[in-house]
């Protein structure tokens, strides 16, 4: 979470005087479920990046191609859309949810990480 400013350091009236500052507004504390990235299963299809409603998917361009590199938890609100659209979340044979160890994204309750 970003450092919150005191009343002496804020513009008056709740005004926003720097355009485009949603970038610095960290909303990750809203999260109840946390997506965990399992790189070994990822096929870098970028569905998660496409569907993410925020800026939570970290992407690196390697040889002109996008690579999924995990999460920016400052922005991830834990909606789970990424895990839902991820093709690795479904077993291709049975069309049933894939076992956790085969998935690229698994959702864990935030309470599992409470000590961090």
């Amino acid at each position: 979470m970003a450092e919150l400013k005191g009343w002496k350091d804020l513009p008056i009236g709740g005004l926003i005087i720097e355009p485009g500052n949603a970038k610095v507004y960290k909303t990750g504390t809203w999260r109840v479920m946390r997506p965990i990235y399992q790189a070994e299963n990822c096929i870098h299809c970028m569905q998660c990046w496409l569907y993410c409603p925020d800026q939570a998917i970290v992407v690196e361009i390697v040889d002109g191609k996008p690579k999924m590199r995990g999460y920016n938890y400052y922005y991830c609100k834990g909606c789970g859309l990424c895990a839902n659209v991820c093709p690795k979340s479904i077993d291709p044979k049975t069309k049933q949810p894939a076992p956790e160890e085969k998935r690229a994204i698994i959702m864990k309750p935030e309470t599992d990480f409470a000590e961090e």
Partner: protein
């Protein structure tokens, strides 16, 4: 040269606004405020001001329009009364919270119901916690003077808060009095160019007004408003001093009349102070040591002034032209709480009078003073002047 004119309070305020020549006026008619914007509309129609006048469909829209105008960087004005002010209520808070230096004249009138068009202070008292500066005029002259002074206070960088100029409905708004108005050029120079901050129309410095402000920052923004209010008395005194130089009329946070040696002090807002001054003159002839302390500014409430003035007096009688149902009347409650810590607390008495325009006469005022002389004041009991039992 200052000019003596026989005009009503409504006309005097419109005349001051003509001299100020604001960028935007948005208003909706309501008795007894209507003549303010009627007179002003004539100035617009005659082309003597450059003002953009917006006839809106309600007071909620009037306040919304001046909020938008002020945020854009315009000098904006509106006027209203009673239920009109109540309809604005939501946006009245927003104007203060967005720190917009709007000026609004309020022709104080009783809130409904049953419906009543005459003077009392329930309309302005319902807005006393809204974050607006409240100035209270006793007569047409003060209504004019406060209107001239208002933008200087509102636009001050240490303040940036809207100002409400209260003038009693009908008693001041519609009564003709001789007032001294200043020259257009003198007012223009005194008021000066608007001090703009965070104008929406300044596209080189983009700014967002009114974004969602939740538990992480809302509290800090309220604290800033609290701080801005603390700066108001100092700024008011500075502006009043400058105003005295151009007008010869000296204003302060409180008006003291025969108060220096007075053992019995009466406190009241607005036009009733004139009747009290008259009664004090009579009582003084009878050898009674009586005086008046009239709040020129009710919000912010300059508590220290009252502590200094009222400490050690025999009795303080507070007259309220509004009630707080189930609690003490607003002005009384404020004075009583201010006196909690003074070294020698005076006897205190609370009198409610004049609701819905009920007349208040010198006899009523004498009656309240006489209660004080006899030691009949009861600190926790509200009494009523001019009420039939």
């Amino acid at each position: 040269m200052p000019l003596k004119q026989a005009i009503t309070g409504a006309e005097a305020i419109a005349y001051a606004m003509k001299q100020i020549n604001p960028d935007v006026v948005a208003a909706y008619p309501i008795t007894p405020q209507t003549p303010v914007v009627e007179y002003f509309a004539k100035y617009v129609a005659d082309g003597v001001v450059d003002t953009e006048m917006i006839p809106v469909e309600s007071e909620h829209s009037a306040m919304s329009a001046v909020v938008g105008a002020a945020a854009a960087g315009a000098r904006a004005f509106t006027a209203t009364a009673a239920v009109g002010l109540a309809l604005m209520h939501e946006v009245v808070y927003i104007a203060a919270s967005l720190r917009l230096p709007i000026v609004m004249a309020v022709a104080n009138r009783a809130l409904s119901g049953p419906i009543n068009i005459h003077c009392d202070h329930s309309d302005a008292m319902a807005e006393r916690d809204s974050g607006w500066i409240q100035l209270w005029a006793e007569n047409v002259q003060e209504a004019y003077d406060f209107t001239v002074m208002a933008y200087r206070i509102a636009e001050h960088p240490d303040v940036r808060l809207p100002v409400m100029v209260n003038f009693d409905g009908f008693i001041i708004s519609h009564s003709v009095e001789v007032v001294e108005t200043l020259d257009d050029e003198v007012v223009k120079k005194f008021v000066g160019k608007p001090i703009k901050m965070y104008s929406l129309l300044d596209t080189s410095k983009p700014v967002t007004y009114g974004p969602l402000d939740l538990y992480d920052y809302y509290f800090e923004h309220k604290r800033q408003q609290i701080e801005a209010m603390k700066h108001v008395p100092k700024v008011f005194k500075q502006v009043a001093e400058e105003f005295a130089k151009i007008s010869g009329r000296k204003y302060d946070l409180v008006d003291e009349y025969m108060a220096d040696d007075a053992e019995y002090i009466m406190i009241a807002l607005g036009s009733t102070a004139g009747t009290i001054k008259h009664t004090i003159n009579e009582l003084r002839k009878e050898g009674k040591k009586v005086g008046l302390v009239k709040p020129w500014m009710f919000r912010p409430f300059p508590k220290e002034e009252y502590q200094r003035i009222l400490n050690g007096r025999k009795a303080v009688v507070v007259l309220d032209r509004s009630v707080s149902f189930g609690a003490e009347a607003p002005l009384y409650e404020t004075i009583k709480s201010a006196l909690y810590e003074v070294a020698v607390r005076p006897q205190l008495g609370s009198y409610v009078y004049g609701l819905g325009g009920r007349d208040i006469t010198p006899n009523h005022i004498r009656q309240a003073f006489e209660d004080a002389f006899k030691g009949y004041l009861i600190v926790d009991e509200e009494k009523y002047l001019g009420l039939r039992e």
